[in-house]
């Protein structure tokens, strides 16, 4: 019964999406308010059907209804209920179904926001959204069908991938990633709408920026949460490995970040409309490429789902989207032509442009590094992978250059400026750069690129703080009280500006954190017998012994390690090895003792309970916690910039007084 109902809901959503695409494009061509209204209803219907299908699946997972194909595949009676719910996105079919839910929610929200947008482009945007929706509904209905009927019905299932049961971050990371990935459909549709109608007006640009910013916030958090999860769960002591799937989420982030910056320039100067649009299209296309990379089984990675029939289907969609985008850009980009030239290079505008080029260069670097093994393999029968050295060598200079720009760009005034003005703007922050450089040297940093990151970071931090404080100082000078100055100068109308600089502060901290943690750490692999001790960094570790623990869904070997720092007892740390019924290899779970200064990271390499010996990986990772904090700061900046400014009530009233055009009542 459940499988049948589920399949029907998916089919209904497919029909609604297809119909919606047709009415949307018809509404766009005819500028018909009635068709636009029907399009919106179909979109809400799609969202509702997808929501119902997802609820049904969650219910089946919780009831252990193994007659449903997906439940038989990932469900288990042994796992706790939260794991059952999380199983929704733990494997291929469920994750695509969940994608449908997120897409439906985004489409409904964006459609609601666009309900009064001009009929020349909004229906086109909706048409593009609905084509994407129809594709994903088709994927769910066909090759990734989660509601298959299973016969004979098994008594129990294997449970989801143990790695996903191992940490609470797995509840947050995937939904966050989907909210980032799927959300990029909205700006894609808006950009396509602008291209199709040949016009990118101020309102559309603001909508584009806002709908780009929202998924950008999620994507930013998802990427770092993924790194955090890898750090806390996978046990090799790092947070980023340039795995194809990590790259898949990083590439759209790069182009989206570039687009957020160029959109600012478009808004301010009317330039780069075509370029901004291109970046938005590229961002969406990269999310689809990323989906293909994760789901096709073509790339080998910790994330890859099993081989399935879904790869070719996504490739067809990716090809169509790529060719459509290139054709659309070529056909319409000239209509969005710039209102004025960009002007000289040594201006803030010029720095925006360099920033954009660096982001695009970064994207291409990661893309080539990710795809290159496939090229080699296609030409010669040879399995290879492009390892960390390539990515590190390429990304470190680009990252430091971006940090450099993040300092210099905002320091430079808009438009042309005299050499004296430029000196006044650029020289003072050098002091902070030098101070941080000196601090690094005193702390023993010798790695050349780390020192460069510290110097640029000090410079950027200085500029960012000055820019954050500037409105306050201006208002203090006028004699305003602190509370008022802060609420008007930083929040109120200046929210977007403030949000941008807060995000900059977060990014600065992230780059410094990466530079320091990746070069200043200490790593030891030791074998300890019961009672033996080892000193690593400032810590003395004593191996107290192993114990076996039995939990409903897993068995665990837990090592007790007493940690001292000098005379001070820091407590007992308990790295463990979990063994799950469905997996032969045990899964290590490291323990991390986090302080603002550094993490002490313990991970079991091997453990012998009979002889009571322990192979232990001990790492001291400086500044890692700052990555997580800085990401929070970046996301906060994004949220600040996102919150809509309250519209002045007077203006809307006076604007809407004239007689409503025919059909307006029906449309609203």
């Amino acid at each position: 019964m459940t499988p049948l109902l589920g399949r029907s809901l998916v089919l209904v959503s497919l029909l609604l999406a297809g119909a919606g695409a047709v009415t949307a494009f018809a509404a766009g061509r005819s500028r018909s308010a009635v068709l636009w209204m029907w399009t919106r209803r179909l979109i809400y219907g799609f969202a509702a059907a997808m929501g119902a299908a997802n609820l049904l699946m969650i219910a089946a997972l919780l009831r252990h209804d193994f007659s449903v194909g997906y439940v038989a595949h990932v469900g288990s009676r042994l796992v706790p209920d939260w794991v059952s719910v999380v199983s929704l996105w733990s494997s291929l079919e469920g994750s695509i179904l969940f994608w449908g839910l997120v897409l439906g929610a985004y489409l409904a929200a964006a459609t609601h926001a666009q309900r009064d947008a001009p009929l020349e482009s909004a229906p086109y945007s909706a048409g593009v959204w609905m084509v994407c929706a129809a594709f994903f509904a088709l994927l769910i209905a066909g090759p990734a069908q989660p509601f298959n009927t299973v016969s004979p019905v098994p008594a129990d299932g294997p449970g989801p991938n143990p790695l996903l049961q191992n940490h609470v971050l797995m509840i947050i990371h995937p939904p966050c990633l989907y909210l980032g990935y799927v959300g990029m459909t909205i700006p894609f549709g808006l950009a396509c709408g602008a291209l199709l109608s040949g016009r990118l007006g101020r309102d559309q640009l603001l909508a584009l920026r806002r709908w780009l910013l929202l998924p950008w916030i999620f994507l930013t958090m998802a990427i770092v949460l993924g790194g955090w999860w890898a750090y806390e769960v996978l046990g090799w002591g790092g947070y980023w490995a340039w795995d194809p799937v990590e790259n898949a989420s990083f590439m759209p982030w790069l182009t989206a970040t570039a687009a957020l910056h160029s959109a600012l320039l478009t808004e301010r100067r009317g330039v780069l409309k075509g370029w901004t649009t291109t970046l938005v299209l590229a961002t969406f296309l990269l999310t689809i490429l990323g989906t293909f990379m994760t789901r096709s089984g073509v790339f080998n990675s910790v994330h890859s789902f099993t081989q399935s029939a879904i790869g070719p289907t996504i490739l067809v969609f990716l090809s169509a989207a790529l060719l459509f985008s290139v054709g659309l850009l070529a056909a319409r980009i000239d209509r969005l032509s710039a209102d004025e030239g960009l002007g000289p290079a040594m201006t803030r505008e010029g720095m925006f442009l360099v920033n954009n080029l660096l982001f695009v260069l970064f994207t291409f670097t990661v893309l080539i590094g990710t795809v290159f093994p496939l090229v080699v393999e296609a030409l010669r029968d040879l399995q290879m992978s492009v390892g960390r050295p390539f990515f590190d060598r390429m990304s470190v200079p680009i990252g430091v250059a971006l940090l450099f720009l993040l300092g210099v760009g905002p320091a430079l005034p808009w438009g042309r400026s005299s050499p004296a003005e430029m000196r006044r703007a650029l020289l003072p922050p050098l002091a902070s750069g030098l101070v941080l450089l000196a601090v690094g040297l005193v702390m023993g940093v010798r790695a050349y690129w780390t020192l460069a990151a510290l110097a640029c970071g000090g410079y950027a931090a200085h500029v960012t703080l000055v820019e954050l404080v500037r409105p306050l100082r201006q208002r203090f000078a006028r004699g305003e009280a602190f509370a008022r100055a802060a609420s008007d100068g930083l929040l109120g109308r200046a929210r977007r500006r403030t949000g941008g600089y807060v995000a900059h502060a977060g990014f600065t901290l992230i780059v410094i954190g990466i530079a320091v943690s990746s070069t200043m750490g200490e790593s030891r692999e030791v074998v300890l017998r019961q009672g033996e001790s080892v000193a690593v960094g400032r810590y003395q570790l004593t191996f107290l012994g192993l114990e076996e623990k039995s939990e409903p869904h897993r068995q665990a070997t837990v090592a007790n390690v007493a940690v001292y720092q000098g005379e001070r007892n820091l407590g007992t740390m308990t790295p463990r090895m979990n063994r799950y019924a469905a997996m032969r290899e045990p899964v290590g779970t490291p323990t991390v003792r986090t302080t603002l200064r550094e993490d002490l990271y313990l991970s079991i390499m091997n453990a012998d309970p009979e002889k009571q010996t322990l192979g232990l990986l001990v790492r001291v990772n400086p500044m890692v916690v700052w990555l997580w904090i800085a990401t929070g700061i970046m996301a906060l900046g994004g949220v600040m910039a996102l919150i809509p400014r309250r519209r002045p009530v007077v203006a809307t009233v006076s604007a809407s007084v004239p007689v409503a055009p025919p059909g307006a009542a029906a449309a609203s």
């Binding site: 194909g69 038989a72 595949h73 288990s76 299973v150 004979p152 098994p154 008594a155 129990d156 299932g157 294997p158 075509g274 490429l289 293909f292 096709s296 089984g297 073509v298 790339f299 080998n300 890859s304 099993t306 081989q307 790869g311 070719p312 490739l315 990716l318 090809s319 790529l322 060719l323 985008s325 290139v326 054709g327 850009l329 070529a330 056909a331 980009i333 000239d334 893309l367 795809v371 496939l374 090229v375 393999e377 296609a378 399995q383 019924a581 469905a582 997996m583 032969r584």
Partner: protein, 179 residues
Amino acid sequence: MNRKVLLAGALVVLPLLGVLLANIRRDPTSVRSPLVGRAAPEFTLAPVGGGAPVTLASLRGKPIVINFWATYCVPCLQEHALLQAVARATAGRVTFLGVVYDDEESKVRAFMAEEGASYPVLIDHGGRTAIAFGVAGVPETFFIDAQGRILYKHSAALDEETMRASLHKIAPALMSEAR
């Protein structure tokens, strides 16, 4: 139509699509087993439900099909009937063995009682034999010829066609006789 944009777009998009298309059939997990063409690893395993341990050496002289499986695995369920039928049809000429390395013996016994079992299932405590065979998951089926060499490894549910072709590899005489 902006030719430059079209050209630049094509230059990025077409090679990328070409590479992806050329690799679409690739399966990075199906690294060809280094064991194919070599002697199967020795083992001594006790059958589920009791009885004398089975060694590989004692089976030499006849083609062998070894199926690694588990009760919770849906593809294993799907191929179960085919394996049972072929095992019955070739009884005495091909030896069929099941191996469970990651399951509870009681569940396996209940499963065999319910679904039927026409050949012995061996239990591999600790998964040493599975490791020796390089098993990455269930189901995996190894086709071993009369001399004890692994000629083929299949890493998904078996279908009739694969079964016929694989049996042909390890027992050509049997298959031509059947035709």
